[in-house]
Symmetry: C2
Subunit: 408 residues, 2 copies
Amino acid sequence: MALIVQKYGGTSMGTTERIKNVARRIAKWKAQGHDVVVAVSAMSGETNRLIALAREIQDYPDPRELDVIISTGEQVTIGLLAMALKEIGVDAKSYTGWQVKVATDSSFNKARIQSIDEAALRADLAEGRVVIVAGFQGVDEANNITTLGRGGSDTSAVALAAALKADECQIYTDVDGVYTTDPRVVPEARRLKTITFEEMIEMASLGSKVLQIRSVEFAGKYKVRLRVLSSFEEEGEGTLITFEEDENMEKAVVAGIAFDRNEARINVKGVPDRPGIAYQILGPIADANIEVDMIIQNVGDQGTTDFSFTVPRGEANRALTILREMQTHVGAAKIESDDKIAKISIVGVGMRSHTGIASTMFRTLAEEGINIQMISTSEIKVSVLIDEKYLELAVRVLHKAFGLDQAV
Amino acid sequence: MALIVQKYGGTSMGTTERIKNVARRIAKWKAQGHDVVVAVSAMSGETNRLIALAREIQDYPDPRELDVIISTGEQVTIGLLAMALKEIGVDAKSYTGWQVKVATDSSFNKARIQSIDEAALRADLAEGRVVIVAGFQGVDEANNITTLGRGGSDTSAVALAAALKADECQIYTDVDGVYTTDPRVVPEARRLKTITFEEMIEMASLGSKVLQIRSVEFAGKYKVRLRVLSSFEEEGEGTLITFEEDENMEKAVVAGIAFDRNEARINVKGVPDRPGIAYQILGPIADANIEVDMIIQNVGDQGTTDFSFTVPRGEANRALTILREMQTHVGAAKIESDDKIAKISIVGVGMRSHTGIASTMFRTLAEEGINIQMISTSEIKVSVLIDEKYLELAVRVLHKAFGLDQAV
C-alpha cells in the first residue's frame, strides 16, 4: 500500500492503443492496493503540430497565447486516459493544471511551479479513484494558462509527488532506465540499478535525455524517490535515483559516460590580456540568450590571450555574427568556429574520493591518438572536447577503461 | 461607437489563412471605434476528430471526460485568433470558458449557460483590447469543464451579448443571411433583410441550419439584437432577427419555406380506439430518446384508429423494433414505415392575421398533383408531409405562389 505518482510521456501516449496499454499498467498497480496519481504528456507530435499552427500566424508567437494553445495537447490525453481506465472498470478523474491547481509564476513557455493544491486529489484517492493530471501546464496568479517548457511533464510528476509526499515517482519512458552510456554507441552499456541525484543531473545535462533536468533538481530539493522505467516492458525495475550517499558505497567510481554532439567551439584569438576581457566577449553572447557551456582562456604571446567557448551548434553562426561586429572594439586578431566537435564526459560521485580519474581518461584517449581540444572539470565529472569523428571510438574505450561493461 | 459581439464558426476558422481574414475583419470594426468581443468555434473538423479519438477508447465516451477533450478545439482557435490580431497591431486577449467564467449546469455535452461574469471582459474592453472567448464551453460549479452541444458557439455569443448588453450580436457563417428558402432548390430565393425571432425559430428547427435554435431562443429571452452575416463577403448586411412587431408590418405574409428530408413516417394501423393509446405507443419511443416530430391520429373503422408519426430517418429502424415488440400488447393490426418522405413548411408571423394561407398551400400542391400525407399547423407555420420525389417541385411552386421571389 503505497502512494505512487507515475508519469507517461508522449511516446507512451502516442496512440489510443498505447493509451489503453498505459491504463492496463495503471490498473495493475491499483489492483496491488496502491494509490496512483498519473501525470501525462501530449500525444507524441501533438505539441509540435500546435506550435507549427501558431507559427503560421506569428513567426514569434505571443507567449501567453502560445501556452493557451499548446496546453491543449495534455488536456486531450488526460481525458483519453481517464476514459481508458473507466472502460476497464477502474474509476478515474482527469485534472487540467488549473483544476488541480498547479500554481506557477507568469513566465509563459517556461513557467516554474510554485505550489500544488493537493486537497482535491487526496479526496479522489480516498474514494479509490486514479487521479490523472495534465503534465507540462499550470496557471498563474491572474488565471493565465502557463506551460513549463519542453519535458515539463517530468517536473509536473515530481512536483505532484512532492506535494502528495508520495512514496515513489515513476517516470515511464521509451528506455528502461539510465545506462552507463548510449547502448547504440556501446552495445556493452549496462542499465544502472541506481544513480545518484547529482550524477543524474550531470548525465541529463550532458545529453542523456532520459529525464528533464529540472525535474531531477526538483526531486533532489524535495527528496522525492524517483525511478525511470520503460513503458513498453512489463517487467524491469528501471533505475532508481538516490539521494543517500550510503547506497552508493559499492558503486563504481565512474557511473557513466555522457556525450553531446550538439555543440560548436568558438575561438577568439589574440585578444589583449586585460581584466574584463572575458566579460567583454561573453556579455553580448549572454545578452543574445545564447547558452555558453565550456569556457577556456589560455595565455598567449606578447600580452595577448586566446579565448575559447562552446555554444549550441544551431547558435554558432549567430554568435559569430555578434563577435565579428565587435572584433575591432575588443581587439581580437582572429575569430573562428568549429562545429565538427563532440563533448564527452565521465560522471561519478566516486571522483570526489578517488584521484587519478582524469588522468586515466586522458591516457586512454591518448593511446588511441585522440587529441583533446578543451577540458572542463567539476567535482563529479570531467568533460573533454574532441574531434567529432572520434566520438564513438572514444566512448567505447572509456567505457571499457572504467570497467563499466562489468556487472557491479 | 457600439459594443459588438461577433461569432465565427468552424468554417470561418478552418485554416490559419482564414483566421487571419477574420482578424482583418475584426480590425475594421475596431478601427471604426467599436468595442468588439468575439466568440469562436473550433477549426472545422476538429471537434469530430476529437470525438473519433474518444470513440477509439470508449464506444460511449464518458461525458465528463469527453468535454475535457472536445473543449480543446476552441481553446486552440482563441489563441490563434488573438495572435492573428496582435500580428496586425490590434491588442487582444483570449479567454477559455472557465477564465471568463461562463457558468453552466453540469449536463456534460449539452450544458446550459447559467451566468457569465463579464467584469474581466469589460476591463479589457476599457483598455482597448479585443476580447476573444472560446465558444461552446463553460464550467460547472465544481470546476468541471462542460460543453454546450453542437452549434453551442452561437449560444455562447448570444449569452455574451446578453451579459454585456451589447448593441448587436453578429453571427458570421458561410451563408450571407437567412433566405426565403434554400437557393440550391429555388434559384430565385431571396435573402431576407429581417426575420422575426419566432419565424427564425421555426425556420431553424425545420432545417434551415443557419443558427442553433437555442441561441435564437436565448436572444429572444434577453432581447439581443441578432444578425446573421457571411464571413466570406466583405459587404452585405445579412439578415437581422427582430423582436418588434412594428418592423414586420410591411413584410410578406409568408417569410420563407423550410424543408426537411431527414424524417421517416411510421404508421401504426388498426389499434383499438381507446383512451391512453397514444401514450402506449409513443411512451416507449420517448423512453428510447427518439425524437418524434409530427403526430396524427385518424379515426378508422369499427372502433379502431390509425396512428402516424415521424421520427429522424436514422432512428426509424430502432422505432420499428420497439413498436413490433409491443405490437400484440397494443393490439395493432399493422406497423409500417416509409422513409421516402419530405416535410415542407411555410412560415410567417403574418399567418396570425391572414386567413387562407393553408388553403393556398394545399391548392398549389394539388394543382401539381402532389398528394399530402400528413398536415400539422401552428400559429405561424403550416407543415405538410409529401413524397420525397416531389420535394423540389413543391418548394418551387410554393415559393412562387406566396410571392417570395418578388422583392418586398
